[in-house]
Symmetry: C2
Subunit: 311 residues, 2 copies
Amino acid sequence: MTEKLGGEGNTEFDTIRSLLARWGPLAEGVGDDAALVRAPRGDTIVVSVDDHIEGRHFRREWLSPREIGYRAVAAALSDLAAMAARPAGVLVAFGVPRGWRESLMDIADGIGDAVKSVRTKILGGNLSDAGALSITTTVLGSAFAPLRRSGARAGDSVYVTGRLGAPTLAIAARRAGRVPNDLVRARLARPTPRIFEAIWLADHGASACIDISDGLAADASHVAAASGVSIVIDVRRIPCVDGASPADALASGEEYELMVTAPRGVNVEEFARRFSVPLTEIGRVDQGTPGVLLDDAGKRVAPPKGYDHFS
Amino acid sequence: MTEKLGGEGNTEFDTIRSLLARWGPLAEGVGDDAALVRAPRGDTIVVSVDDHIEGRHFRREWLSPREIGYRAVAAALSDLAAMAARPAGVLVAFGVPRGWRESLMDIADGIGDAVKSVRTKILGGNLSDAGALSITTTVLGSAFAPLRRSGARAGDSVYVTGRLGAPTLAIAARRAGRVPNDLVRARLARPTPRIFEAIWLADHGASACIDISDGLAADASHVAAASGVSIVIDVRRIPCVDGASPADALASGEEYELMVTAPRGVNVEEFARRFSVPLTEIGRVDQGTPGVLLDDAGKRVAPPKGYDHFS
């Protein structure tokens, strides 16, 4: 947190001090008007911003404060993974209503968990009163050759990390008044930003990458549009968590898994050994009208609509 | 805006397209999961985040939507000025209530004004529903040798750009139900981030810098604490706008002027000629207990308390 935040009264000053104390060495060096970042020579800086707003991106009764903090930052870090960038730090702007004040240190712990999990640090931030809890996270990273959405070429294979569909199951359970099973709940509460997986994939020939935040079908269509290619997904190959259908997986947003394309075979066994996460070939890149088609037992069909958040 | 934002439904998708069309070449290249920034070789990246929340940092009835957009981004850019950094781009995360939707393009125009005024561009952002309008701006810049708060040394002179006190007068007028005069109103609605002034000052020997967002007295105390020095401000020398007293100026926050220290005389006439803004020597840096003292006609007194926003 920069001290400039302190302009908002002594309470905020004290809160910022408490946050910095809580984070300890994770937030060392904070205190100027802006933070300094040094990238390795020749690297490009990669930056993204993402927000998490109460009632819009999460519900208080579904997640603990620590999980809310973790998830907000993990989701933002997932955008660095999509570019195969190495994290250089995060800035966190909080909007905190009075009713959330006593949970702020738990939220900070969750943010610390996410930051530590990818071996980066907290560079600065901002603290304001607000009507609803909001956590706006800016992530910075660097890469020598960032992966783009636009690099997919006809002939490439299409891969996805992990197993999809858990967020859809978790939300369906909550809506039906049930508590989701532990595995499904953990996937919603503690998604892993695939930072190290993405760097490995870039080093092993990946041509394009996106993180699955809108649903596999919608995100594949973003890559197809940016690359000017047709992406054909074999529905039977989509890796699903237990209880989820391929249709759930195609529409399930906020997965924070990666979809990548690569021109030559990627060693999926080596990937699985290294990261304890499956990498599954689910389709191929073709010439033709940019867009996504599903291969459903030999029939080509249009994909379902994208994910519509909690709203 | 990155397309990932589009996950939040077709309305947001369309709104993002409209924003990008409105910004045109100011936002070219937006569309991946994260934005790419290249700094000149040897430069350090400088980054800061700042938020502007309705009812907290501005009131709808005091500023036009275009002014609100301008001010949010200008305030964030002021943090780059404080580091003498050259802007490399901004990311804007909007929280937009239904009642503000029709003003969003005017807000975008104001953001464009601020971005153009410092010759930078919009790298990306985020759009969400929210209960109150919020604009969270991440600014990126670069500098070979960023100015810090910690560089002031005993024997340095203390300078301030511009004339202080206008925000205090503007708010006092509004609270009394009056419309502030044009000059005072413009200083609140259209503050100039002192980017080019700061780079010039760094090139001419400045040792420490801060932007005046909490009030001259409070911000001088930040520099004093970071540098481990005593700062003595001559009250009679503080440059004030017409109608403001030195006491107003000392406590007036959100000025977005700069306070700098420098070990040798800075040519204030050349500065004024080049930027059409005064640069005034207002005090000196001493050894002694870190803190701020006022020299009020020969008497040394403690400064008044800092600024307390609109709240």
